[in-house]
Amino acid sequence: MKILVCMKQVPQKDAPLKLNEAGTWIREDVSYEVNEPDAFALEEALRQKEKHTGEVVVITAGPVRAMQVLREALAKGADRAIHLEGDAFVGLDAYNTARAIAAAVKDEKFDLIFTGLQSDDYGYAQTGVILAQILGLPHATIIMHIEKNDAGIRVKRELEAGFFQFVDMPSPAVLTIQSGINKLRYATLIGIKQAKNKPLRKVTLAEVQSAIGGNLQKIEKLYIPQKSKNTEFLEGPPAEVAKKLVEKLKNELRVI
């Protein structure tokens, strides 16, 4: 089974973020990590490969720093990596990102393509499904289980409010993976060592430029949300804060 995993580097969950001067994006001097559902997508690809043999290829689009995501993936067991490298990739909308990825892998035939179900930065939740449409492949979203069978695959989709659904579909296919589908592994020392010798192909923006167009959606302004609530901050040492809160719970919220 040959599987492509699309991964993205995003700011670390608890990293303090600051706006740039133009108010159009964040300042890039923060710590980054792999987008959480993408880590689960990689893990699922590695598990499928272990079960059925094959190859796991990882791809990311982003500046030089995004290479770290690929290195970690190779250290965990991915066989090779593709880096759409350039600062400009950060600003592409989901349609253009998907078109760039499609162009970068146009000569390859994958049985399955995985993405995380959404990214922690833009949160579009669209790139995987768009990629499926561009490649003419069937897709299923928010996947919690994958099983290969004679006809193709059977996947378990998560629906809202605790509901699920099995879907039978042919492969090749694109699946967007939900966090929690499996248990993540750590890279081993030997894996980290081997990663250095694994193939990594760089693709520049110029090489995929003809496949992409202008963004169809534009961020006019990025800003700190206006508070809709009057939040009262309770301050002081823990014992005092606890007293203050209990007073509020009792006299204002009347829940005690």
Partner: protein, 328 residues
């Protein structure tokens, strides 16, 4: 005149009530722009839903029908809406940001070589331009997003962004037009099975008046007990954000958020929950929200009535003691 079209969501012949919020959004946009507002119900045998929708203030309602639209598949929905929008062009197409819509809208927008602005929480019309507000970076920032193409522009709205009870009724029922779509079997690639629930839902958190909910800030499984003690002291239920249930520290049926339960208790006490969008949509309707988090910039504080910035392990033990004293 330009048209705004609302795609009403139905599942197995039942209207998904979040669609009223989308119609309210459509009515607000139509009022500001002067554009015509229409709605479409897409499915198999959904005329009754079309009639229900036609009672609202809308210029027209379409009943888009094919037996192949039940059960839902992305291939059938995209085929039907692609064809429908070819005959009935719209400038804006609005839908709720549900798991079903997320499954087909990016495909539909791509098939039409256009885009979908997803998970929108507000709209403004400024200088002849529509600005859609959406959260970014897990709610730490919001962005005003404009549409740059020739259309149609698809927009999906986050649950709770508009009020369903604000939908205006029409003075007379809107005309309904039935549109039958041919969908060849050969294009349907996915074969969905029955929808099911994993396990019997042991806990109905929607009925709880007090909920103590834990997030990543609880750090280790053994610390869950501290939150349990707090919930017990308050006489409330224990709940969690998704990562806690993914780790198996609490069962899935105690999960709050888009993939778990949606609750609106008298008190929602969030311990070490940063407030990712998927969690917030499941609890922002709570009557009062208390948040304890060490990160002063955590998005949960945006919606909290009372906020404590600090280490929950320092604050919760004296809090339990104070509650016991107050109740004694």
């Amino acid at each position: 005149m330009d048209t705004v079209l609302v795609i009403v969501e139905q599942r197995e012949g039942k209207l998904n009530r979040v669609s009223w919020e989308t119609i309210a959004a459509g009515q607000a946009i139509a009022a500001q722009t002067g554009w015509t507002l229409e709605a479409a119900v897409v499915g198999s045998g959904v005329a009754a839903i079309a009639s229900e929708v036609a009672a609202k203030k809308l210029a027209k309602v379409y009943d888009v029908e094919s037996s192949k639209l039940e059960p839902y598949t992305p291939d059938a929905f995209v085929h039907a809406l692609h064809e429908f929008l070819g005959k009935h062009p719209a400038k804006l197409v609005l839908m709720p940001h549900t798991y079903q819509v997320r499954d087909f809208v990016p495909k539909l927008a791509t098939a039409l070589e256009t885009t979908a602005i997803s998970d929108v929480i507000g709209v403004r019309y400024e200088g002849g331009k529509l600005l859609f507000t959406r959260q970014m970076f897990q709610g730490k920032f919001v962005a005003d997003v404009s549409f740059a193409g020739s259309g149609p522009c698809f927009v999906t709205f986050q649950n709770g962004s508009f009020r369903a009870d604000k939908v205006e009724a029409g003075t007379a029922p809107a005309p309904i037009e039935t549109v039958n779509i041919e969908i060849p079997d050969s294009i349907l690639r996915n074969k969905p099975q029955e929808v099911f629930k994993e396990a019997k839902q042991a806990v109905d958190l929607t009925q709880a008046e007090i909920i103590v909910s834990v997030g990543r800030g609880i750090k280790e499984q053994k610390n869950i007990d501290l939150a349990k003690q707090l919930a017990d002291a308050l006489g409330g239920e224990l709940a969690a954000s998704r990562p806690i249930c993914d780790s198996g520290w609490l069962p899935m049926d105690r999960q709050i958020g888009s993939s778990g339960q949606t609750v609106a208790p008298k008190l929602y006490l969030a311990l070490g929950i940063s407030g990712a969008i998927q969690h917030i949509v499941g609890m922002k309707g709570s009557r009062s929200i208390v948040a304890i988090n060490k990160d002063s910039e955590a998005p949960i504080f945006e919606i909290a009535d009372f906020a404590i910035v600090g280490n929950l392990f320092d604050i919760v033990p004296p809090l339990i003691e104070e509650i016991k004293k107050a109740k004694a």
